[in-house]
């Protein structure tokens, strides 16, 4: 069919893009207006604090004296400070220790609470107690048990070993203490996430595996473990970010000592910001901490991505 075009004079005048946009906006204004409060809230609670953090990291701040712009001086001090290197080392050792201890513990507990055995409901509740208690409370509990003079664990271990036992005299012992405490606190959340994954696995798969002669270990290795990879990943990611940023549990247990042996980055940030009020310097530590958390997230997603490709 031949196209019949109208003469130009009869065609409606072409709208300017800006006019079209305004018309479009007017026509679809409602969704934007409804979204606006959320956007404002997000900007207020995420963007502004983050920009503020960056701003303060470039200042030398002093309580009652004011701020002075110092450029990257705070970062320069951090990068050349042996204490900050010790903070990062302590953080990574802490993270590795918590994951190594808590993940197997959580997996075992998740398998247990996912079964239909009697008494599982009670066990599930008991397992959740460490997670619902405040870190400061559990830290005080640990301190009481390990008190060098009257702690029941100290007394029992001294009796068993035949010589005095004081866990927190060394850097290694103190690190073990904070790892034990955090792993004990973290495993219930990991357990819940993994258990949710386990319960979503169709029973038919296990039945088919049994028919094929697969034992319990093979069922776990070939069915449970691969199909709970995503919840396991989520659990590890959540606990890693939480552990990297942890300050209150560690501070309540050891205050970062002995020396700077357990002064993880979160504890250092807490001291600089809230004990010394060096907000500028603390902000630069905050940026380092965010970078570390993002790094952990990126590494995990890469590992997960590679696993999926394989």
């Amino acid at each position: 069919m031949a196209s019949v075009s109208k003469p130009l004079s009869e065609q409606p005048a072409r709208e300017q893009p800006a006019t079209r946009l305004m018309k479009g906006l007017r026509r679809n204004a409602l969704p934007y207006i409804l979204l606006l409060p959320l956007v404002v809230i997000l900007i207020s609670f995420l963007a502004i604090p983050f920009i503020s953090l960056i701003y303060y990291s470039l200042q030398r701040t002093e309580l009652g004296v004011g701020n002075v712009f110092v450029g990257l001086a705070n970062f320069n001090i951090l990068l050349h400070e042996s204490r900050f290197a010790a903070n990062l080392t302590a953080t990574l050792v802490y993270l590795a220790g918590v994951l190594v201890l808590s993940v197997p513990m959580a997996y075992f507990a998740a398998v247990l609470i996912s079964s239909n055995r009697r008494g599982v409901g009670g066990i599930r509740t008991i397992f959740l107690i460490p997670w619902v208690l405040a870190p400061v409370v559990t830290a005080l509990l640990f301190r009481t048990m390990l008190d060098p003079q009257s702690g029941p664990i100290t007394i029992a271990m001294s009796w068993l070993l035949g010589h005095p036992f004081y866990l927190t005299l060394s850097e290694e012992g103190s690190r073990l203490l904070i790892v034990l405490h955090s792993a004990w606190r973290s495993f219930p959340l990991e357990m819940l996430l993994i258990a949710a994954g386990i319960t979503s696995i169709p029973q038919e798969l296990y039945e088919a595996a049994k028919v094929d002669g697969a034992g319990l270990w093979q069922q776990f290795r070939r069915i449970t473990l691969p199909l709970t990879r995503i919840p396991l990943f989520s659990a590890v990611l959540l606990i890693s970010v939480y552990t990297v940023q942890d300050a209150e549990g560690v501070y309540a247990l050891t205050q970062g000592g002995p020396g700077y042996g357990t002064e993880v980055t979160g504890v250092r940030l807490f001291k600089e910001a809230f004990l010394y009020f060096n907000i500028g310097f603390a902000s630069s530590i905050g940026i380092a901490l965010i970078t570390l958390s993002v790094l952990v997230i990126v590494i995990y997603f890469r590992i997960l991505g590679q696993g999926e490709k394989a």
Binding site: I33, L253, P258, G259, G261
Partner: protein, 476 residues
């Protein structure tokens, strides 16, 4: 009148716009730069001849409210009933004596009151009278938190001034040529010792030790580690007590210091400092006369020093505070000494001035200061004078030992026991006048812990920590 129809769409649009407007205006209001605080000079100028009369005169204005920031409220110090009652009594006395004036008590936790004073100065929030920490006076001077009390003090009779200005607590509030606080009492420390343990080891409990070497020898003779009885109790954990009560007195005894006030830098690697740390190290690791758990990262100062001593586990307890005199009496180690009476007698528990060349221990006390933004500084000074009346200071439970020298001449402080405490107080020293004292104390505490836990090289470790502090704070 016809009905105006509003569609659901129009209603939602209007509400959306209104909500956005409220949110944006709220954020803008929150982000608005606060109005600057009124110029301090306009609010509270130094007292003048007209505004400040003799100490016993009434406040200049006809009446008003004096704000007193303290930490004995039920909200902040639930166990401090005695202090709460005392404050209520002093407030009533002030209000009775100054018609038209009321005192408004502001409850702030004791370990936040100094920061609050500085933060509120920045925020333009005024206070009148405030408790203040002597260790933080250099910080307050830098932040200009408190008024210089000198013009008021100069109007006090000379005898009255001398009665108060003798103590280290007073001196620690003398900074930069200003007097920004007045000590309400004396908290000092001695070497407490168990006379029974001394006698059992054939040591004369009536012969005071005079040198650090004697302390070590006594500790060696009295330690029975298998029974958890130790010759010399110290606390070397994560706390300012480590620098204040153990490291500093030993450095002073070796004739040095750990802070150079003129150059404003830490001198942790000075000879005296290295000797002091070595001395402490030897007690723990070489002679093994101090409990190994003294430097545990979760060690507790009260347990290690006070409870262990009153429980008969320590032959000598270094840094034994005057606030623990009552604890000795509770365990029948003394009689009639708490509260102080003329009949005070020592039993198992004795005290001596810290042995060593300096014979000095850290001594402090809560001070009272007037906030820079005070709108009633004359009335605040008047309230301070009411508090400092001899009969009021004597009954202030948290004062520790008397701030007034004349009070020490009263019969209840005439015993040998209290003469030793007075000697200790007179020899007492404050912490260094740096605005970054908390950072210095924590740095030294961490250095001590690293040396003791890793048995690391003393000069090298001290150098590392000295450099860390000086790189950030020296010269300021």
């Amino acid at each position: 009148m016809g009905k105006v129809k509003v569609s659901r769409r129009q209603f939602l649009q209007t509400m959306g716009v209104a909500a956005s407007g409220v949110a944006v205006s709220g954020i803008l209001a929150a982000c608005q730069v606060p109005a600057p605080p009124p110029q301090a000079a306009n609010v509270t100028s130094a007292p003048t001849q007209e505004s400040t009369t003799a100490p016993t005169s009434a406040p200049a204005a006809a009446g008003g409210t004096v704000k007193w920031a303290e930490f004995y409220s039920l909200l902040t110090d639930a166990s401090g009933k005695l202090n709460q009652d005392w404050i209520a009594g002093v407030v009533k006395q002030f209000e009775d004596e100054n018609a038209g004036w009321k005192v408004e008590r502001e409850a702030i936790k004791w370990d936040q009151i100094d920061q609050k004073a500085i933060l509120d100065l920045t925020a333009g929030v005024d206070h009148d009278l405030m408790f203040s920490s002597p260790q933080l006076m250099a910080k307050h001077l830098k932040a200009d938190t408190y008024l210089d009390l000198t013009p008021w003090i100069e109007k006090m009779p000379k005898a009255e001034q001398d009665d108060l200005n003798w103590s280290p607590g007073w001196k620690s509030a003398t900074v930069g040529g200003k007097q920004i606080g007045i000590a309400t009492g004396v908290h000092t420390r001695t070497l407490a010792y168990n006379r029974d343990i001394f006698k059992a080891a054939d040591l004369d409990p009536d012969k005071p030790l005079t040198t650090l070497d004697e302390m070590v020898e006594v500790a060696k003779k009295t330690t029975k580690a298998d029974q958890d009885i130790w010759g010399l109790g110290m606390f070397l954990g994560n706390s300012r007590a480590t620098i204040e009560l153990y490291y500093a007195p030993i450095v002073w005894s070796f004739g040095g210091d750990f802070y150079d006030s003129a150059a404003q830098k830490a001198t942790l690697t000075g000879d005296a400092s290295i000797k002091a740390v070595q001395w402490i190290y030897d007690l723990v690791h070489t002679h093994q006369v101090t409990p190994p758990y003294s430097f545990a990262s979760d060690a507790d100062y009260n347990n290690l020093i006070m409870t262990a001593f009153t429980g008969g586990k320590l032959a000598q307890s270094m840094g034994y505070g005057s606030y623990w005199i009552g604890a000795m009496q509770e365990k029948n180690m003394t009689t009639g000494c708490f509260p102080a009476t003329a009949e005070c007698k020592v039993g198992t528990g004795g005290v001596m001035v810290q042995p060593g060349a300096a014979r000095a221990q850290f001594t402090n006390a809560w001070c009272l200061s007037i906030h820079k933004l005070s709108k009633n500084s004359d009335a605040a000074w008047k309230l301070l004078q009411t508090i400092f009346k001899p009969e009021n200071l004597r009954t202030y439970p948290d004062a520790g030992l008397p701030a007034r020298l004349s009070a020490w001449e009263s019969p209840e402080y005439s015993s040998d026991f209290y003469k030793i405490w007075l000697d200790a107080a007179k020899n007492g020293r404050p912490m260094p006048p740096t605005p970054y004292y908390p950072e210095l104390a924590d740095t030294m505490s961490a250095a001590m812990q690293e040396i003791l836990s890793k048995k690391s090289d003393i000069p090298g470790t001290l150098k590392k920590f000295e450099d860390e502090w000086n790189s950030k704070y020296s010269g300021q």
